[in-house]
């Protein structure tokens, strides 16, 4: 490793040490200027041709229509703020600015503070920082894979699905409907017996519309358990036997539905008890007071298996991309903030602790205020980055959801280079993007100046 400069680079507008010493051979002033010009020429030429000239050109071009000779004044800017896909882009970008920089900075701060006090902190920081080296675009591909809708394939949905199944398991039946008018309702709301039942009664709850292959495994021939005086019993069964059979009657060859949820409701419709059916579809409620009750097959009998959250669909696409983006940039914030932390004198923190401040108070009242300059830098940098976000949106959002995921930089590109080819409007969008990042320019230059005065 070569010699390492540990000191931070010196400030910008600080007067640089002029060569005050007498020179061996003193070149004329002009010669020295010419020399400087020679050293600067390549850089200035490239900057002029590739940045300064195009910027001026774009500003001008934004005042012309699709036809480069047709002067339209500010019409493009008007179009920009009145076209749906473009206002969506602006709204989305506003959301990005509101959510992402703060989230990244908050996560970065927490991680920086926590890693200060653990072993293996270098390895840990590498793990968090690593996505920075991954391209926005590769990150997009990664998250495209992560966010697949099918829980069999998408990592996010596999996790969500596992939680979902633990909380509300998949029902035993995919569908079913009443076999007689004595039952009302449907799979979505539950299927209830129209007439009340009293203790001592046994009720057949027949369902049709169940393909043979959908009958739950372990099913045996349906049977109705006899009911004692304080009991309501019945059976949930597939009310279909080859040749038809009589609806509403349990006949030989008709299968019980095991595992169905049966609800016992009181006269007011409140659920007072639930049970699950046995292999023959039978169920039994015991210890009932006399009175009218209602029986129903609960809707969770028909609960659909977890289909997967549509992370990449129009509704969630922007939050999904934001998660991917935070994943990428949290490490950046963490590294900068950790560097800021290590510059805080230990004695200040220790003094606060000796004075009896809790860890939280130390963090809130001492650490954060001392970190303020670094936090500001991270926030400003992130705002600029987020305003220019492009690659990751392009990679994660498929063509069909790009209107919903639209952001300013993407809108500029699509307007100019895909299909439309409207350079006038495209130029106007990029000028707006430029104007939005200008405050950051002001901030940076002020910062350079301030440092120069120190």
């Amino acid at each position: 490793m070569v010699a390492v400069h540990t000191k931070p680079p010196r400030a910008v507008s600080r007067p640089s040490p002029a060569p005050a010493h007498p020179r061996h051979r003193t070149p004329g002033r002009w010669r020295r200027w010419l020399l400087a010009a020679a050293f600067l020429a390549p850089a200035l030429a490239v900057l002029t041709v590739w940045i300064v000239y195009p910027t001026a050109r774009t500003v001008l071009r934004s005042l012309f229509g699709r036809d480069p000779h047709e002067f339209v004044g500010l019409d493009n800017y008007h179009t920009l703020f009145t076209t749906d896909t473009l206002t969506t882009a602006i709204r989305n970008n506003a959301l990005w600015v509101a959510v992402v920089p703060l989230t990244v900075t908050a996560i970065g701060t927490v991680l920086a503070v926590l890693t200060e006090r653990i072993r293996w902190s270098a390895a840990f920081r590498t793990a968090i920082f690593m996505p920075m080296a991954v391209s926005m675009f590769a990150a997009g591909v990664i998250w495209h894979v992560m966010a697949e809708k099918d829980p069999q394939r998408g990592t996010l949905n596999a996790v969500v699905g596992a939680v979902h199944d633990a909380v509300s398991p998949t029902g035993v039946l995919a569908n079913g409907r009443p076999s007689t008018p004595a039952l009302t309702g449907d799979a979505g709301s539950g299927i209830a017996l129209r007439d009340p039942v009293r203790p001592g009664q046994a009720a057949p709850l027949g369902l049709t519309g169940i393909p043979a292959r959908d009958v739950p495994p372990g099913s045996v021939r349906a049977a109705i358990p006899p009911a004692a005086a304080d009991q309501v019993t019945g059976t949930v069964f597939r009310d279909f036997s080859p040749g038809g059979g009589r609806p509403g009657v349990v006949e030989p060859g008709e299968a019980g539905i095991p595992g169905a949820t049966v609800e016992l409701r009181d006269a007011g419709g409140r659920v007072v008890a639930t049970t699950r059916t046995a292999a023959d579809g039978g169920f039994r409620f015991t210890g009932l007071a006399p009175g009218d009750y209602r029986l129903a097959i609960g809707p969770d009998t028909f609960a659909a298996p977890f289909a997967g959250v549509d992370w990449l669909g129009p509704k969630l696409i922007t939050p999904t991309i934001m998660i991917a983006y935070v994943w990428m940039w949290a490490g950046f914030a963490m590294v900068l903030i950790a560097a800021g932390l290590s510059a805080i004198p230990r004695e200040v923190l220790d003094a606060a602790r000796v004075d009896g401040a809790s860890e939280w108070q130390v963090f809130r009242r001492v650490t954060v205020p001392l970190l303020a300059p670094v936090l500001t830098v991270v926030l400003v940098t992130m705002v600029v980055n987020v305003l220019k976000v492009f690659d990751i949106v392009m990679a994660v959002a498929s063509e069909s959801t790009q209107d919903d995921a639209n952001v300013i930089a993407l809108a500029m590109w699509r307007t100019s280079f895909s299909g439309d080819g409207d350079y006038g409007l495209g130029s106007a969008i990029s000028v707006v993007l430029f104007l939005l990042v200008l405050p950051a320019l002001a901030f940076n230059i002020r910062r350079f100046r301030r440092e120069g005065r120190r």
């Binding site: 931070p8 680079p9 010196r10 910008v12 400087a36 990664i142 596999a158 690659d391 590109w413 940076n444």
Partner: protein, 275 residues
């Protein structure tokens, strides 16, 4: 703090670190599974059945002419523009640091100010310019564009690093009769190697990962990102091509990053947290 009180934090952070690694790890495993498996199951299947792992996808990828060309283009553009950027920024940085001329600080401020011009602003005029001059769809065109947008930061970083070199070193060389060109090549470049390394890593990573510039200013001259992007448009049918290509496209910058992490972090700190 006692080791015992530290333990929960340690465990928590370990969990977070694993969580952070899952996406990249998932992509790696996806790239190692046969297409038939990826079509129906998630990458975690392989954890239960490690013998499913195969390098077939990588073999297929390296047999694909287009993807290999794309990889070469990416390398040429990333390495080429980085080398050129370092040279041009060092020249300018030297002038800004050690060659006084009137209006120097103002000019420097203007150059640094260009830092926040979003590259989107230049795309349309440069597209027209390239079409008119034959630079369109060439590696040179991409290289020059990247150099331009790397320059404000490059000049800023190197000028500040060069100011760190003690006056006496440069003055004594000049007194010994060394020409400015000699001072630059024999003294300045070697002495500013850490800063140059930081700048080079930065620029290499940024341009290796570029999508928007290559997508706009190239057609047949496709870097890997654009090639993958074209495949992505028919996502689902060809994840067996996308996954290894995406993994290669991130493995190389990742290797660069991991081996030169300290220089990278130093550059980051110099660029953003002064003060």
């Amino acid at each position: 703090m006692t080791a015992l009180r530290r333990l929960p934090v340690q465990v928590l952070l370990g969990g977070i670190a694993l969580l952070w690694l899952v996406p990249t790890f998932g992509l790696l495993l996806t790239s190692l599974l046969p297409p038939s498996v990826i079509q129906s199951d998630g990458w975690w299947t392989v954890l239960a059945e490690p013998r499913l792992v195969t390098l077939d996808n990588y073999r297929a990828m390296f047999a694909d002419r287009q993807l290999v060309d794309a990889l070469v283009t990416t390398c040429v553009v990333a390495v080429g523009n980085t080398a050129l950027l370092v040279l041009v920024s060092a020249l300018a940085g030297y002038a800004f640091a050690w060659l006084p001329f009137p209006g120097r600080d103002a000019l420097f401020l203007v150059v640094v100010g260009l830092l926040v011009v979003p590259l989107q602003v230049a795309l349309i005029p440069i597209f027209s310019l390239y079409s008119a001059t034959g630079l369109f769809d060439t590696a040179a065109g991409l290289i020059l564009f990247h150099v331009a947008f790397g320059l404000p930061f490059g000049i800023f970083l190197l000028r500040n690093a060069l100011l760190e070199i003690p006056v006496e070193v440069i003055e004594s060389a000049r007194l010994d009769g060394a020409s400015e060109a000699r001072v630059f090549t024999q003294l300045i470049l070697p002495l500013s190697r850490p800063a140059i390394a930081a700048l080079a890593i930065f620029q290499f990573l940024f341009t290796w990962n570029d999508l928007i510039v290559a997508l706009t200013l190239g057609r047949a001259t496709q870097p890997l990102t654009v090639a993958i992007f074209a495949q992505l448009r028919q996502y689902g049918a060809n994840i067996d091509i996308i996954a290894p290509a995406a993994f290669i496209s991130l493995a190389i910058p990742l290797a660069v990053f991991l081996s030169l992490q300290r220089a990278f972090t130093r550059g980051l700190l110099a660029g953003s947290t002064k003060g």
